[in-house]
């Protein structure tokens, strides 16, 4: 495929993913909007992929430094985002059998 044909394909991917995203997110109840934000935040830390390619690409010092900082920032969100989402979701429970038996 030519370069421009590939980039048109990327546009398809973007638009389809946005449409899928729109429908998925609309199903999320307001109850879970805060975990939703931290979850999507963790998912969009996928920039870590770009950071890996820059930090490990054997580029000049400037690029490597930028890549390393990007790596740290992205990993903060990957780890922090998923952990905090988990922490929040663990708190949501329906009627418990024993009152006050908080886990």
């Amino acid at each position: 495929m030519t370069d421009s044909a590939l980039q048109i394909m990327e546009l398809y991917v973007f638009v389809l993913a946005a449409v899928v995203g729109y429908h998925i997110i609309h199903r999320v109840p307001p109850l879970l909007h805060t975990p939703l934000m931290s979850a999507t935040n963790a998912v969009s830390a996928i920039s870590v992929v770009g950071a890996i390619l820059i930090a490990g690409g054997g580029y000049a010092a400037v690029a490597t430094v930028l890549g390393t900082v990007a790596m740290a920032a992205a990993m903060t969100n990957v780890v922090g985002g998923f952990l905090i989402t988990e922490r929040m979701l663990r708190m949501f429970h329906a009627k418990k059998p024993v009152a006050g038996g908080a886990k």
Binding site: D3, Q7, E10, V13, F14, A17, A18, G21, I24, I25, H26, R27, P29, P30, L31, H33, T34, P35, L36, M37, A39, T40, N41, V43, S44, A45, I46, S47, V48, V49, A51, L53, I54, G57, A60, V62, L66, T68, A70, A72, A73, A74, M75, T76, N77, V78, V79, G80, F82, L83, I84, E86, M88, L89, M91, A94, K95, K96, A99, A102
Partner: protein
């Protein structure tokens, strides 16, 4: 393994990871499936990272490991130590981190390969760095306002919007210049600098109470920056994950704006909460009824149906645990207790739900505005805890009010209303709340957590011992 086989393998890990992200987020449709879904998304992230590490372009792991280790430690610290009340700040900060990663990748990418990029790649890179940079500083500003390191009131000056629009077009102009002439490195770095400044100026005039919309919008920008990174690198998983995040942020900001009956443009440029322009009757001519906790408790004692309306004040005073105790006590007496959550209660979407879940309130007692609004007429007592504008009847009845048309919780329709509040001072919009002056309303002044604790104590004294031990 040959490069082409390896590349196919990497492509497959990205494909599976994309599916896991999509199905993972989909499972957030219910609290029962949410955790399982997050495990899928986590697996997707691991796959994507491992796949990338296999890429033949990765020739040295030293700095990947260094950066990754720093990020992991930071992430754990933030995740473990952030109190639930500080979740809005944490979210703002994480948008700054995400956008920082995207824009640094973009800058490094331009530094190494800018001159040899084709036009489409340069357009993507321009978006990536522009959205990324302004989201970094914009999110840090939001963080500062939420953390109260910066004044929460809107900061405005003459010609602000004109200046901002001018700045935006300068940034866009520079980006176009770089796209036409990719060797113009200076123009590129000036653009980065100006976009960074733009982020500060964009959030400066927005009040802390409008942060739900702003955070959601920055969420969307951070996602778009990640997506643009994908276009610049020719990487589909970045495009997909970024698009999911972008869509999510956009939907949330639209929901939040609607819940305030305002457009996103108005939130961004309206400097709401700056100048009270209310036509409401002067407070001096009206009287309100102040009540002590034991008076309030005696009314609660006979109530059969109670609805609690929490607001940002509950978060400020950390009253959610006391509220849980009160709920338990009332329920043991056979009282029906439910919670009415306005979409913009608190400082971020879903803020109140998380706090109440933290205190151990079952989520099946938390109701959205649309679910519960018709039930207020059949409610004996509505307890307003640190909420103000979201229960202001002026939004229904006073066309001159700045919040007129905003959907509100009909707490005023309850037989009696208890307002737990520190003082008679108006809410963030600077508008007097006529609910406070209604004959069926009693004001219980004081710190919300202490007041609720006092209610619990008084109520226990009123309750016969038999019921207490049940």
């Amino acid at each position: 393994m040959s490069h082409s086989v390896l590349n196919t393998l990497i492509g497959l890990t990205y494909f599976v990871a994309s599916l896991l992200f999509i199905f993972g987020l989909r499972s957030l449709g219910s609290p029962r499936t949410a955790r399982r879904g997050m495990h899928m998304a986590e697996l997707g992230m691991v796959l994507a990272i491992v796949g990338t590490l296999l890429n033949h372009e990765v020739i040295s792991f030293t700095w990947i490991v260094v950066g990754g280790a720093i990020g992991t430690v930071l992430g754990i610290i933030i995740a473990v130590w952030t109190p639930m009340t500080a979740m809005p700040q944490r979210t703002a900060l994480s948008h700054a981190f995400g956008a920082l990663a995207a824009s640094l990748v973009g800058i490094a990418h331009f530094y190494e390969k800018g001159a040899s990029m084709n036009t489409i790649e340069l357009v993507a890179l321009g978006f990536e760095v522009m959205f990324g940079s302004l989201t970094v500083t914009g999110s840090l500003m939001a963080f500062g306002k939420l953390q109260e390191w910066l004044p929460g009131r809107p900061v405005t000056y003459k010609g602000q919007n004109v200046f901002n629009v001018g700045l935006f077009f300068t940034i866009a102009g520079l980006a176009i210049y770089v796209i036409i002439d990719p060797t113009a490195a200076t123009a590129f770095y000036v653009m980065v600098g100006l976009a960074t400044l733009f982020g500060v100026l964009l959030v400066l005039p927005i009040g802390a109470a409008d942060m739900p919309v702003v955070i959601a919008l920055l969420n969307s920008y951070a996602g778009l920056a990640a997506s643009a990174t994908g276009f610049a690198l020719g990487n589909n998983i970045l495009i997909i994950a970024g698009a999911l995040d972008g869509a999510s942020g956009l939907i949330l900001s639209i929901i939040m704006s609607k819940a305030m009956n305002r457009s996103i443009t108005n939130v961004l440029f309206g400097a709401f909460g700056k100048a009270p322009e209310s036509t409401a009757k002067s407070a001096a001519t009206l009287t309100y009824r102040s009540a002590t906790p034991d008076e309030a408790a005696s009314i609660l004692d006979t109530a059969e149906r109670v609805v609690v309306v929490p607001g940002y004040g509950m978060a400020v005073s950390q009253a959610q645990h006391a509220v849980k105790k009160l709920t338990e006590l009332l329920e043991r007496k056979g009282t029906d207790v439910r919670f009415a959550i306005h979409p913009v209660a608190g400082r971020m979407p879903g803020h109140m739900n998380v706090l109440l879940a933290e205190a151990g309130v079952d989520y099946d007692k938390l109701f959205d505005m649309d679910q519960i609004n018709d039930d207020f007429e059949r409610t004996d007592v509505a307890i307003i805890i640190g909420a103000n504008d979201v229960v202001n009847p002026a939004a229904r009845s006073d066309p001159g009010s700045p919040i007129f048309g905003m959907p509100i919780l009909n707490a005023d329709k309850a037989r009696s209303v208890m307002v737990l509040k520190r003082s008679m001072s108006p809410g963030f919009a600077g508008i007097d709340n006529e609910l406070f002056y209604k004959p069926n309303t009693m004001m219980v002044f004081g710190d919300a957590a202490k007041t609720v604790d006092a209610l619990v104590t008084e109520l226990k004294e009123l309750t016969p011992a038999a019921a207490r031990s049940a």
